[in-house]
Amino acid sequence: MPIYTLEAGQVVQGIKSKEFSAEEYISQLFERIEKVEPKVNAFVTLNKEEGLDRARRLDKKIRDGEQSGPLAGVALSIKDNICTKGMKTTCSSKMLESYIPAYDATVIKRLMAAGAIIIGKANLDEFAMGSTTEFSRHGPTRNPWDISRVSGGSSGGSAASVAALECAASLGSDTGGSVRCPASFCSVVGLKPTYGLVSRFGLVSYANSLEQIGPVGRTVSDVVSILNVIAGFDENDHTTTNSSKPTYSLQERKGLRVGLIKEFTEGADPGVSKMIYKAAETLEKQGCKCEEVSLPSVQYALASYYTIATAEASSNLARYDNIRYGFDMNPEGYEWNSYFARARSNFGDEAKRRIIVGSYVLSSGYYGKYYLKAHQVRSLLKREMETLFKKYDVLIGPTMPILPFKIGERIDDPLKMYLVDIDTVVANLTGMPAISVPAGFADGLPVGLQIMADQFAEQTMLDVAYLFEQAAKVQRSPEL
């Protein structure tokens, strides 16, 4: 088996035991990327020279018997809205087409310190606004399982690069499902941590109060080892929780109580629901106690999510006026207001749509009607979830209500597009953790099982995910 197919844990072991060198591994990966990237289009920027250089330095460290870190040599792709010092961070937008950050995001610093190697920046919907990675200036990322279909989004490049064996794992960001959706569509594992568990310093903000950076990997184990590196308090992010650094592990636990959210399965494609019921059966066979539960206020979740997300986005995206950084556009002859307007017309359609909606819901007189109301829904939803978590250890359902659809199929119908986020936004609105694990295939296309837990109950959630993964044994990467 070629070494580029190895899971992150196997890579670390192989390099540390000198079974193969980091340089060999990284070079093989770049050969793989060269081969499959024309079909998948997962990357925005490749970091070949520096990646190989880092690999060689790691090899020397290992030869010299020095400490090499828990992720030694693991090749990662990083969603292109996470700042990497000296490496372009474009957010797949014209507005940042030549932007090179002056600093590393906290998660990047932590990953590098753990020995990981960043091999490139992964494609996304512009500023992480989308569920398919079609709204990218660099073209859509294709689903490795069927390249005529969408990869999901907005972290489509992250999930696709992992599924296509272009890297071992990836970092995405999840504002309304952006890690879990493409993980589900590409049959890999994607985790959104509890709000405040992982630092957002260096994540280009889309909707600050909702989003978290999360790992994508081919196994629960890989996702855990990355989470262990990136989680924990950061003095540069006031919203991270000030507690001791958590460490998660893989453990077999029996007798866990599982609630299956019926609104999720009821609203899903029959093929998807069938897989989820089958997943529940699998869990029962593993000793879990499964019951159907109801989450009535989920009917308001999408409205609440899109109100809050667009409001925050409209303000976050205001800074892109092309004055301090951006793209080449001569200001001569413009009065500044018209220059701003002209420069900002270069946002893509979806970003523009969200800026307009967000500006509208915040405009004077409408704040109470929309923004405040959305926050009331948020509290309501949180209370309902907390009540459920008194009775159940985890709540499950489909990650996506539908199967990966054809590229271009929904791009002209924003409302239809927004509807696919119905099952994922709950975790963002409540700040609770959620993970998508491959559940199997319907009509040959991946279905993801979503597992949600109470705030900071990542370990319980991972226990169930691991239990399911071990029992279900779902295929992770397709032939390409």
Partner: protein, 485 residues
């Protein structure tokens, strides 16, 4: 015609004492630095950065809140005020906002000023200063381009908003003096730094529409701007032209208010709470901590000056009206404890030199009171001691002060040089009296019969000694000699 004027103020004061910016670790001291050298990814608003609230600024703002008699909410929040302007790196300003619940650091205060007047304080809030726009030709109207300097962006500001409780510009001046003294006493703001205190004002005349005046760059210009605007509005009213509700800009060069080019009242700032800064709980523990750590306020200091040093209310008021003066007074006392004498020297004599110097300055720049005057507490202490010990008389002391203020020489040294000291001059004085007695024999005879004539002899002595003799001593000497002979 009787007119009523209503003036409200919006005062911005930079928390220069906080050392670093409101949401990052950059220095709050941006003055004199190369353009855009005092910035970091956070205050430059680079993508991915998050604001980190400077705890010290919350404490400073809380001190101001207490000093202005305002109430604290249980928790404070920051809001984004969204508008596009090139001096804003994020195109929104982080500030505080009370429309959706009271979350600014202070509300509903009252401050006494002048003689028994008071003004209501609507709110106190913390916010970030924008960057600076530098116009190529110095004026917005004539420049082809503008340069942006973000060195100031993110510097902590406290905004103090009053109700429209001022009836004339004199009240405004007194109120601003009081505010200045308070923030100086609290040590939160060095008001002498250019642009560290700014003031917008709103004026209405005879119940007419309210006009906002912006862009007033110093407290000193507030009176000028208001006087101009009141006259403008009264003239319009007398001609039965309605005053429009608008925002006008103070033109510093032409000393007039003029219409703004942008219609700011039409802007919708789309306020919403900043998600990256969690609510800050204040709580009783915090409030008592602030109370304990508060430096002495001017009013308390005034009372102390009266009770401890026996100063009159007027003298004490003049001293605390300017922290530098009050500090000067107390530093002098550390050297020589003669409070009343020293207070008099400072308030009457020293102040007249200061006033004189300030009048000579073309622009009223807000620099140190004592700038250009070579006088320190040690000089005044020395002078007071010489007078207290009857080494020199008051007239001589005034003369001495007039000189040393330019030279910086110690008063006792100068007194010695002038031979004005009585001890040294006893023999000289006796000789002078003797010679006057010889020259004015007829007058001496008259004086023996008529006591008033002794004053004539004294006049002669004073003339010969060029006024350096102590008249009291000389007169005693003359009277004694008249009896002897």
């Amino acid at each position: 015609m009787a007119t009523t004027t209503k003036i409200g103020l919006e005062i911005h004061c930079q928390l220069t004492g906080a050392k670093s910016k409101l949401f990052c670790r950059c220095s709050s001291d941006y003055r004199g630095k190369a353009p855009n050298a005092n910035i970091c990814p956070i205050c430059a608003g680079l993508p991915g950065t998050l604001p980190l609230l400077n705890q010290k600024t919350v404490e400073f703002a809380a001190m101001i809140t207490l000093a202005l008699g305002c109430k604290f909410p249980d928790e404070i929040a920051f809001y984004r005020k969204n508008y596009f302007y090139p001096d804003l790196p994020k195109n929104f300003q982080l500030t505080q906002y009370n429309a959706y619940g009271i979350t600014s650091i202070g509300v509903d205060g009252r401050l006494e000023y002048g003689n028994g007047k008071d003004a209501r304080i609507r709110r106190v809030q913390l916010e970030e200063d924008p960057g600076r726009l530098v116009y190529a030709s110095g004026s917005m109207d004539t420049s082809l381009y503008v340069l942006i300097d973000y060195n100031r962006a993110g510097v902590p500001l406290v905004e103090i908003v009053t109700e429209p409780d001022f009836a004339d510009t004199k009240d405004v001046r007194m109120f601003l003096d009081k505010i200045t003294s308070i923030i100086e006493h609290l040590g939160v703001c060095d008001t002498k730094l250019e642009g560290s205190v700014r003031c917008d004002a709103n004026v209405s005349v005879d119940g007419g529409n309210k006009v906002e005046i912006k862009n007033i760059s110093s407290f000193a210009d507030v009176e000028k701007a208001l006087r101009y605007e009141i006259t403008r509005q009264r003239t319009m009213t007398s001609r039965e032209i309605q005053v429009r509700s608008e925002t006008r800009h103070w033109d510093d060069a032409r000393k007039v208010t003029k219409e703004s080019r942008t219609k700011e009242e039409e802007q919708d700032y789309r306020y919403f709470p900043e998600p990256d800064i969690p609510l800050v709980m204040l709580g009783s523990e915090f409030v008592s901590f602030i109370k304990q750590s508060m430096p002495e306020l001017p009013d308390t200091r005034k009372e102390r000056f009266m009770s401890k040093y026996g100063l009159s209310a007027h003298i004490a008021q003049v001293l605390i009206g300017n922290k530098e003066l009050a500090d000067f007074f107390e530093s002098t006392l550390m050297i020589y404890l003669s409070p009343k004498e020293i207070a008099n020297w400072i308030v009457t004599d020293l102040m007249s030199f200061i006033d004189e110097r300030q009048k000579k300055e073309e622009e009223e720049e807000e620099h140190s009171l004592f700038a250009g005057l070579k006088v320190g507490p040690e000089h005044i202490a020395d002078l007071a001691r010489l007078v207290d010990q009857d080494m020199i008389n008051r007239a001589t002391a005034k003369q001495i002060l007039g000189q040393i203020i330019r030279t910086g020489e110690m008063p006792s040294a100068l007194a010695k040089r002038m031979h004005a000291s009585r001890i040294d001059d006893v023999s000289v004085l006796a000789q002078t009296v003797q010679s006057v007695f010889q020259m004015e024999q007829a007058a001496v005879q008259d004086a023996r019969r008529n006591a008033n004539v002794a004053n004539f002899l004294l006049g002669k002595v004073m003339k010969i000694t060029k006024g350096k003799a102590d008249p009291k001593v000389a007169l005693e000497m003359i009277q004694k000699k008249l009896k002897e002979d």
